[in-house]
Symmetry: D2
Subunit: 338 residues, 4 copies
Amino acid sequence: MIVMAAQATPEQVQAVLDKVRELGLAAEVSHGTERTVVGVLGHETESVVDALSLLEGVERVVRVLHDYPLASRDFHPQDRVIELANGVRLGGDGVLVMAGPCAVESRAQLQAAAEAVAAQGVRVLRGGAFKPRTSPYTFQGLGEEGLLLLRQVADQLGLAVVTEVLAPEDVELVAAHADMLQIGARNMQNYRLLQACAQVERPVLLKRGMSSTVEEWLQAAEYILAGGNLQVALCERGIRSFEPAVRFSLDITSVPVLKRLTSLPLVVDPSHAAGRHEYVPAIALAAVAAGADGLLVEVHPKPAEALSDGAQSLSPSAFAELMGRARRVAEAVGRELR
Amino acid sequence: MIVMAAQATPEQVQAVLDKVRELGLAAEVSHGTERTVVGVLGHETESVVDALSLLEGVERVVRVLHDYPLASRDFHPQDRVIELANGVRLGGDGVLVMAGPCAVESRAQLQAAAEAVAAQGVRVLRGGAFKPRTSPYTFQGLGEEGLLLLRQVADQLGLAVVTEVLAPEDVELVAAHADMLQIGARNMQNYRLLQACAQVERPVLLKRGMSSTVEEWLQAAEYILAGGNLQVALCERGIRSFEPAVRFSLDITSVPVLKRLTSLPLVVDPSHAAGRHEYVPAIALAAVAAGADGLLVEVHPKPAEALSDGAQSLSPSAFAELMGRARRVAEAVGRELR
Amino acid sequence: MIVMAAQATPEQVQAVLDKVRELGLAAEVSHGTERTVVGVLGHETESVVDALSLLEGVERVVRVLHDYPLASRDFHPQDRVIELANGVRLGGDGVLVMAGPCAVESRAQLQAAAEAVAAQGVRVLRGGAFKPRTSPYTFQGLGEEGLLLLRQVADQLGLAVVTEVLAPEDVELVAAHADMLQIGARNMQNYRLLQACAQVERPVLLKRGMSSTVEEWLQAAEYILAGGNLQVALCERGIRSFEPAVRFSLDITSVPVLKRLTSLPLVVDPSHAAGRHEYVPAIALAAVAAGADGLLVEVHPKPAEALSDGAQSLSPSAFAELMGRARRVAEAVGRELR
Amino acid sequence: MIVMAAQATPEQVQAVLDKVRELGLAAEVSHGTERTVVGVLGHETESVVDALSLLEGVERVVRVLHDYPLASRDFHPQDRVIELANGVRLGGDGVLVMAGPCAVESRAQLQAAAEAVAAQGVRVLRGGAFKPRTSPYTFQGLGEEGLLLLRQVADQLGLAVVTEVLAPEDVELVAAHADMLQIGARNMQNYRLLQACAQVERPVLLKRGMSSTVEEWLQAAEYILAGGNLQVALCERGIRSFEPAVRFSLDITSVPVLKRLTSLPLVVDPSHAAGRHEYVPAIALAAVAAGADGLLVEVHPKPAEALSDGAQSLSPSAFAELMGRARRVAEAVGRELR
């Protein structure tokens, strides 16, 4: 819809109509009491919007349609469900917990973390082999060795593995070892990586960019869906705000917003938002109550010795306590914690 | 703590020490491998920080202590509880629901709303008689007439009344009719109003400014506490973010953060954050699960006819459903909904 | 304009049309290929938008018209000019510098600051007598005594006075001594104060709220204009962002945006945005280059001894240097520094 | 520096000291009147901070040192200068303009844009061959063909070429044709790409992430510097804010902040911040006045027909007018526009 300026002349309105037709679209004019509005019929792409907004006498152009057809709930009204290799399901009526250390540091550390989370009934192990780090001088992950450890430890315990992939050239390697590929917040708009993940037969967990809008996030998911991989889940992990007390502010409001706009499963990561382990349980319980389909939680056998994100990792005992509480909250909202 | 620049000279360090002593404070020097740090012993006020940061060779000054002694949990480790006139308690082991229309529009509207919320067990009626509105051309509230209606309707049903006060000159009037004074987000740093509310014997519900940090919010509470009124509760109502899908983003993370920093009761307003009624229940349940001590919910007998904030008001039936779910979530986290 | 959901039925569209007519407005329907859009003719108020957005089948309602008729450039296409008591003009072809201390601390301090700025050709003295402070434990200003000092010192030097007013009950007092009333960022939406300032014959300098949108800012200005005071100038002073390196991020983009939307004079305050004196000159020069009509700069004779905001105040010599550079930049963009 | 909680016991302080020593660092204790502070001597990495913050009785850990040694001005106090292949210099006493179309669309379009900017004295041609686009359904660039066109057109006119590289696997190809590699905002923390750009002998223009802090931006630059490529320039292009009137809010304050923290050259992109061509000149002039070392401006021969970002591109005539004004502002601040 094209809103004309208050002073727009009839000639300017006509020029807009001509341009719309030149672009192969149809138009209708509404003469309001204070503004004339031209409605464009058909799907306006971004360059159409740009072209029209530059014409003389145009105040602004408002887009009516969203730009993520495959991700939208219109396209797939029922909640979508992703089934992982070991049979666990993300989406639908359960709440799936995925837990493990931030980074894979050693077999002993991973084994201890995996056993601790499996003991609480967790069926999906998380853990980073390739780590994106803000500073070049910090631990960057074990790479392929970490992937092998994840696979071995998970197989012993019957767990599925979700782990981050950082670059297009690693997608095949990670897909060979993991059951679900995680795309991190910093890479949400790394389109080459999204396209590479669209080419493999593995579900993808797409984290929200730290200051991406919900619409941009769904457009990023659309890259994977449009590329042919329909198994996409979203992961809210906190947005950048002005508040210095936390690393990120979890956008709990995004849970009902996304449930309205899309039927893709939605996971919440309370660990990165909090930045401190004391805050993790409250945020995790809030996510379950709000309607999230899953939780992604960092658990470390000895948080004080972690090479990465120790401050926000739960100890095994704190995690066990959280699981008990999360189970009760899930039941209170009519769902089952898995 | 004063961090000296890498190139700071011994003379510059000495000048800092001299200044600290001139200000009546003591200092200790640490010579690190890359920076010299001067620790200041004693309470640094803002002007001390400013003065020290201006000295030659100073890179930056870091404050160690917070500036809200009375609001802090250090001062009052146990959770504080506020008892309203009708005996209901905010804070402690229950979760208190305060509900009613955004604005008082008429006796019939208020009566219908009050009966609807009372029927669900609500004991505190909310409703605005003085409304702060972004545009001067919209309904600004009934003023004193609204207060009288609130009092009458509440008394019939045994409810307590919480309502907003907009200006220092209205504090006495509002306190004469209401059981709890609400200070809105736009007025969180209206210091004259805070000081006026410190002078009356009414509990105060202080909403967070739309982009105030948790620390600024506690400093605003400190104005009321330091002025002699110790009955202060906080109300999170969403912060301004870049996300256009909602009016405000509820900062759920502030719940555990505040529980750590302060023992003042904490209420969450899901209605203003959401901006749309469909999103209210999910946010409200999240708040209860995260540990909020209360909810402030907008309920209107006929939302589509509301003069203010209709889009975010719950209908009586939607509110009834929310209450049932909130009660179950409260129980799941070991609390009772009141 | 009302965008219907993809699945909206003809009955739902009809119900929307009926509601629009019931509200006394006219409507037109456009059937697009993917969505039906209902255009509403006439001025939609906020409650109309709310009411329509609640109807079944409505996806969202987009407002076409702004809500600040008197502030808009449509209403007054030519740049507006405000003339102060001593004949200096804000707006139009010059760039007006207003300078002085953050707070009036003493006659000696004010005198020294005023002489320093007057020596650089400045004709408007700024200085706070009533100070809004984040913490209740810091210096709150000299009050009426400060106003008297401002008036006396300004009169000696032929300067006009701009100073902040904090509360409605102080408006008359401040107006009796000052030539221009400043409304601070924290009070931008203190509507009672805006209305009180509309009642006096003094120009008003309205600072932007720290996280107010340009539209909300213009709506706040509209309160003053609609109340009968047409002499309003705006003051950009930085917005809250996620960046910890500065107190506020100056929104330089707001300068051309406002120049398009409104013809009210626009002042920039580089001191509060920067939070550190080293950053003030660069921001001030940027504001002049971008097209600001004025600067509001903090100057203190001895910044290290200031009771308020010392870290961001310029010394007299730094201010003198800035004035020389600002004069050259103003000339480079075809304006004269006053 | 480690700030202990008010209630910390002597045993807890001792445990902190033991841990610091275990980590191979030295410590000093300051007993303040209200808090005990432990100063750690030596370079604290992120994992050290995490480990210490988890100990009992620790309130918080404050980092004193930054984490970008090579990027810092401490390391290289003089302004750094980058010389491109055709002899033009970025950094130092001039202000370098880099201009051209958002995307390379065709030889004719590129030729017209390049001639238009060269006619104004511009020596560096910008243009995208690989385009990161929010939606998968929009034009994604000509790829290698675009690179060849850029090289040919630039060579005819004696221009250097700066163009974006999207993925590690393209770095060699882009470096074979371009004189400077641009890393876009969405890829600022694509560490694999940063590392790949560190391996080639081409200067890198690193754009700021849309919500990255200045510190994170310098840490991203550090990846390239630490990888062996010392020719890095920064490009401010606007940050995400709550303001809907613009696409991004240009953070003009970052100019003086960066000039203090680093000696790397700093470019400003006014086109992406503005999102509308009308706003570009004001922002560009502000950047020059504030001290930027360069401008990156989008110019399109026919903006209304652009396939990408048409709304924010300047026409050749608008660009010519901007160049004249920018030249005068540069001279006003003692620099020469190149």
